[in-house]
C-alpha cells in the first residue's frame, strides 16, 4: 500500500544544497510493521515527514493506496493526514488548553464529525488505551505515559490505515515505553500498518522489518521474523 520510489528531498541552505534524501525506495504492505532506523542526519525525520504527508518529496513518487500523493496540494495533503494517517510524536504534542477528550476529538472535528458522534468515538478510543477515567483532565494533569496513550487514542479516532510513530518512547522510562509499544503491537495485530522511527535498536525490533538509513539512502532492509505472525513477542526475543 505504500510504494516509495527514488524519493529525493533537497533543501537549499543559501547557496548550498543539502540532499536529505537521495533516492530512497521501499514498499510497505498493508498490516506491516516497519521501523526506520539511522543515525541523526541520516534523513529519517525527512522520510517520516514525507511518508506522513507533512511534506512533499523533491522528486520521485510516493503512492499511498495506489494514489500518487507526491504532487497533491496543501488541502489534499491535510485531508489525507486527517483520514489515513495517525501521528504519535516523541513530544506527545497534546494541546495544553484542551482536555484529554478535546485533544482526542480534534481529528474528528477536522473531519467534520458532529458533536455527539465525535464524543462517542473519542470516548471509545480513550477506553481502548485505558484512559476512560482521565477524559476531563488537562494534559498537564496526567503522566507522560498517559499523555502518549492519549496521543495514540487521538491517532486512532479516524481509523487510519497507517500509524506513524516518531520516537514514541523517547520521552518515557522503559516500563512506560514498553506499555506504549505493547499498544502499538496490539494495533498492528488488529491490522493497522505501523511505521516507527527510532534510533533505539530494542524499540526498532518490535517491527518485522527495519529500514536502515544512512546519508539519505537506504543502507539495507533487515528482515526480523521469518513468520508473519501476529504473536510478535517470543519471536523478537529470539533475535535480540
Amino acid at each position: 500500500m505504500i510504494n516509495i520510489e527514488s524519493i529525493t528531498k533537497v533543501y537549499s541552505m543559501g547557496s548550498v544544497e543539502v540532499r536529505a534524501l537521495d533516492g530512497v525506495s521501499f514498499d510497505i504492505s498493508d498490516g506491516d510493521y516497519v521501523s526506520i532506523m539511522g543515525p541523526s542526519g541520516s534523513g529519517k525525520s525527512t522520510l517520516m515527514h514525507i511518508v506522513g504527508c507533512l511534506d512533499r518529496p523533491s522528486s520521485g513518487t510516493y503512492r499511498l493506496h495506489g494514489e500518487d500523493v507526491s504532487k497533491l496540494d496543501d488541502t489534499e495533503l491535510a485531508h489525507i493526514r486527517n483520514r489515513r494517517i495517525g501521528f504519535v510524536f516523541q513530544q506527545f504534542n497534546l494541546l495544553p488548553r484542551e482536555t484529554v477528550l478535546g485533544n482526542v476529538e480534534l481529528p474528528l472535528m477536522y473531519a467534520g464529525v458532529s458533536g455527539k458522534e465525535r464524543r462517542r468515538i473519542a470516548e471509545e478510543a480513550l477506553a481502548r488505551v485505558g484512559l476512560a477515567d482521565r477524559m476531563h483532565h488537562r494534559p498537564a494533569e496526567i503522566s507522560g505515559g498517559q499523555k502518549q496513550r492519549v496521543a495514540i487514542a487521538r491517532a486512532l479516532v479516524n481509523s487510519p490505515s497507517l500509524i506513524l510513530a516518531d520516537e514514541p518512547t523517547g520521552n518515557l522510562d522503559s516500563t512506560t515505553g514498553g506499555e506504549i509499544l505493547a499498544i502499538l503491537d496490539s494495533l498492528n495485530a488488529e491490522g493497522c500498518t505501523i511505521v516507527l522511527v527510532t534510533h533505539d535498536r530494542s524499540v526498532a525490533e518490535r517491527a518485522r522489518r527495519i529500514v536502515h538509513l544512512r546519508d539519505g539512502s537506504v543502507e539495507r532492509i533487515e528482515q526480523l521474523g521469518v513468520e508473519l505472525s501476529t504473536e510478535g513477542g517470543p519471536q523478537l526475543d529470539g533475535h535480540s
Binding site: 496543501d74 501521528f87 488548553r97 477536522y110 479516524n158
Partner: protein, 401 residues
Amino acid sequence: MGIVETIGVALRNLWANKLRTALSVLGIVIGVASVITMISAGSSAQKQITSDISALGSNMIMVTPNLKPSGQARSYQQLLTISLADQIRAAAPAVSAVSPVAQMEGRIIAGSSSASAVITGITPAYTRIVSTRVALGRGLVESEVDAAAHSMVLGSEVASDLFGSDDPIGRQVALAVGDRRAVFTVVGVTESKAALFWANADAQAFIPVTTLLYRMSPIKRVSTYFCQAASAQATDVAVAQVERFLASVAGASDAFSVASQAGLIDAIKQVTATMTLLLGTIAGISLVVGGIGIMNTLLTSVAERTREIGVRKSLGACNRDILQQFLTEALVLSMLGGTFGMLLGWLGGAGIARIAGWPVSVDLSSVIAAVSFSTAVGLIFGTYPALQASRMDPVQALRYE
C-alpha cells in the same frame, strides 16, 4: 471545522490569555467609545443650537448693515433710520413685520440698587418677531413708540437684580446711557429665556426705539432690523425682496447682510456637522490604533502557538481551518470591543450632553457605524496574522520549540 467549534476554540484561547485579551479589547473599546461619544456629543450640540435658534423667534430675518461696504462710499449709514423699517415692509410683500433695533450699554438705577444692562430700543413688532413673552405687566405699545415715551420693559435678570422679589411694575427707575440720564417707568418684565450667543434677553431692558435714539443717544442710527417673513415657506422670497430693496436704496449690493433664521440654522448645522465629522475622524484614528493592537496580539499569539498550528495541521487541519480560527479570534476581540465600546460611548455621549445641558442624542447610525467599523478593523488587522498562521509549513511548525 464548524463555526461553533471555531468560536469555542477562539474563546478558550482568548480566555487563556486574559490580560492580553483585555488589553487589546480595551484598544477597540476606547476607539469605538470615542467615536460614538464624539458623534453623539456633536449631534447633541447641534440639536441644542438649532433649538436655541428656533426659540429666538419665528421666521426671523435679520438685516445688519455691513461696516465697510465696497462700491459707493456715500454715507449709507444715513439710511439706518427708524422709518427704513416701514419702507422695507412696504417694499417686501413677503415680510409681515419689521422692527428697527438699536442697542446701547446702559445703567439702570432703582433706589439704592443698580444694574448694568443692554438697552434695546424696539417697536412692539419686535416682541412678536423675537418671540419674547411678558411675564409681568405689559409690553411696549405703538403709542409709546410714537410719543418716544419713557416706558421700560425689564429683562427678568435685570428686574430681579433691581427689585429682588418686589413687584417692579409702575416703579420709577433712572437710566444712564453715556452722559445722558432720564427717568423711566417700568411697565413690564419679560419671561426668562435661554441665552443664545451674545443675545441674553434676560440681561436687557427694552424701551421704545424712538426714545433710545432721540432722547438717550448721540448716534441716531438703528443697528439692526428684525423682520418676520409671512410664513416659513415665504422666507426665501422675503430675503430676496429685502435684499433687492436694500441694494437699490444703498446703491450697493453688499451694504447690508440679510440672514434668515432658517439660513442661520442651516449654516450652524453645516458647521456642527463638519465639527462632528472632524471629531469622529480623530476618534476613528484611535479605532485604527486599536486595530493595530489586535494585530499585535494575534501576531504574538500566532508565534506562541506555532507548535499548536503544526499539531493541528498534522491532525488534518487545512490552511482554511487555521485561517478561520485566527480570524475568528480577531473578530471576537473586535466585536467584544465594539460592544463594550458602544455601551461606554453611549454613556459618554449622554454624560457630555447632560453636563452641557444639551438634549441627549445618541445616533443609532453612529452606533451601527462604529460597531461595523470595529468589526471591519478586526477583519483587516486580523487577516495578516491569520494568513501567516495558515501558511505555516507543518514540518517547521512541529519543530518549533
